[in-house]
Amino acid sequence: MEVLSLLAGGFLQVLAPVNLAALAAGLVLGLLVAVLPGLTLVMGVVLALPFTYTMDITPAIILLTAMYVTGTYGGALTAILFRVPGEPIDVPLLWDGYTMARQGMPAKALGWTLFAAFWGGMLAACVMVGFAEPVARLALTLSTPEYFAIIFFGLTTVVALGGGSMSNALISLCLGLLISTVGIEATYGAERFAFGVPMLTDGIEYLLVMVGAYGIGEVFTRLYYGYGSASIGRLGALRTELPGLRELATVKAALARSSIVGVLVGLVPGAGATIASFVAYGAEAQYGRRRKELGTGIPEGIVAPQAAATSSVGGAMIPLLTMGIPGSGATAIILGAFLLHGVQPGPQIFTNPEQSQMVYAVFASMFLGVLGMCLLGYFAIKALVRVLEFPEAVVSAFVVLFCFIGAFAARNNLSDLYVIAAFGVLGFLFELWRFPIAPLVLGSILGPLAETTFMTTMISFGNDWTVFFTRPVAGAVMALSVLALLVPLLRRLRRRRTIAPR
């Protein structure tokens, strides 16, 4: 009951003009970013960050969260209509969404994805409202071994869940963790890997790693391979046809399954909307009633990845708000916005009445945001897909510019520009050598937290590392981590055995 009254207060706060304006801006920007193929959701949120520096914390977080939610939906429009996935999240939509559109039913395909995004978004908002406070209460009872185990779990899942080579992901993660060790160490105050360079003594902010590797690195990569040009021609009678109640009944199992998958994957630090989208499609391929027809343009193949991607936002926001652990690139930037406004997310946020009210305003904005996102997706679809015609060369130049401004504005330090340029080149080399960037970024974000919790545990428990395995919660989470690493290895062994007898 108290939660509902806090949520009502949150709604009243969101209706304040400044918060509504931030919400509207976040929705439009999120959709634009998601539609443009050169801009990913994370890059978009990064680019919006400097605009929030002078805002109050509530509209700042509302804006970034709205971008995060809509970023999981906008790319679906171009994936379905033009086979141009705006985000990696939207790749599974090519298989059934684009196929359905080619079968002469683009309006129907758009309707299915709109409904799935609405369902997933509303579920995400409900999950945040229902679970954030209980999880925060639970988090208050946890100690450093449990925190370390949770962070370790996040680090292992980013290695185990990704595509590409696990060795490369592990190397990328190690480099990210190493970057986070540069500068003055927290426990002893020792200087590490600074080599007498003042710029390095201050340490390397994870935002710089992120902006450089994701933003500038991505632009360099696209420039290297050559910009694509999307010609969308005449759009004609472009519209969205929502599914009827009877049609919805046929996909209820897929919706339920994928939404749960989305929330659970979102909860795992290190996994995000892209992984949720792929895993939900995979679950549908394995357990769905019409699994044999998947890929031929059936609604289940559209609903599953979209609902999972949008509902993963709710799961991802919970570890951020309740434990201060960002599980994905977008939540890491939202954490950065919290810190820049002097608020440390964690269980205490729910015990402080002022901060708690702000959190519920963000929750309320999710409900309104999902509604606004669907209205925009329904009524402004023509204008949104027209964005595809922007020349990528121009968009990319401005992306790099905003990366530089974002990095500079955080500390008003010109030397940070060198750092992000260097990470831009590193990001390109990573793409070239097929090293994933996500573990590098997550390593640099979670590295300081991982090290602090590890060192504190070692000091408190007299260098006894077995505490990570003997305490029930920590032990269970560590076991999950080991399992996460073993599953891909076991799958490979099984595949070898099935191939060998032929």
């Binding site: 605009f51 080579s165 060795s167 190397i171 050559g226 121009v394 790099v400 510019l401 050598w433 891909p488």
Partner: protein, 184 residues
């Protein structure tokens, strides 16, 4: 053999970096009780893991060059995605274009404190757009000058970010521009 060397090269480079950093980690100075683990423990553990993975990959490059790496759980879906592609013809990659873009970016970083934000940004935007292959010069000039000006207005007047003004005559030019825009 060349292929194997090329495959092993990034790992060999990373192994060398890990070795050098491990040596640097051994020299980290701190004051603390001897029975406790020090600030060098964490980076040394990471560097050890990094070196081990690099050695494994280098060995694999030479001993089992054809073997596929163990992929993450998404690998199956990514394979499916690439197999389902319609095989659109992609333009050949251009290292020269990339090198010029990196040079322009480094030049921008070096010149911003000298030329000031407005001039350096306008030049950088124009060069980056041109490098991307866009050749409508009127649009390029409008984007470069208009974009740079709009950014100055938004960040200095609305978001209150103090952007670099430059040195000498460029500083005077930036100040004149800001006064004309009503930024104090």
């Amino acid at each position: 053999m060349t292929g194997r060397l090329a495959r092993a090269a990034p790992y060999a480079l990373l192994l060398a970096v890990a070795g050098a950093l491990y040596a640097a980690a051994l020299r980290i100075e701190y004051i603390g009780p001897a029975e406790r683990i020090g600030p060098d423990f964490w980076p040394r553990a990471i560097l050890g893991l990094l070196a081990a993975v690099c050695v494994y990959e280098i060995a694999k490059s030479f001993l089992a060059a054809g073997a596929r790496s163990t992929g993450g759980m998404l690998q199956h879906f990514l394979d499916q995605a690439s197999a389902g592609g319609e095989g659109e013809a992609a333009p050949p990659p251009s290292f020269a274009r990339l090198a010029l873009a990196v040079a322009a970016t480094l030049g921008y970083v070096l010149l911003v404190p000298v030329l000031g934000f407005f001039l350096a940004t306008a030049a950088y935007l124009a060069s980056f757009i041109a490098l991307g292959g866009y050749r409508r010069w009127g649009v390029v000039a409008a984007c470069a000058l208009g974009g740079s000006l709009a950014t100055v207005v938004v960040f200095m007047k609305v978001v209150y970010v103090s952007l670099p003004l430059g040195m000498g005559p460029f500083r005077l030019l930036s100040i004149g521009l800001l006064q004309a825009l009503g930024v104090r």
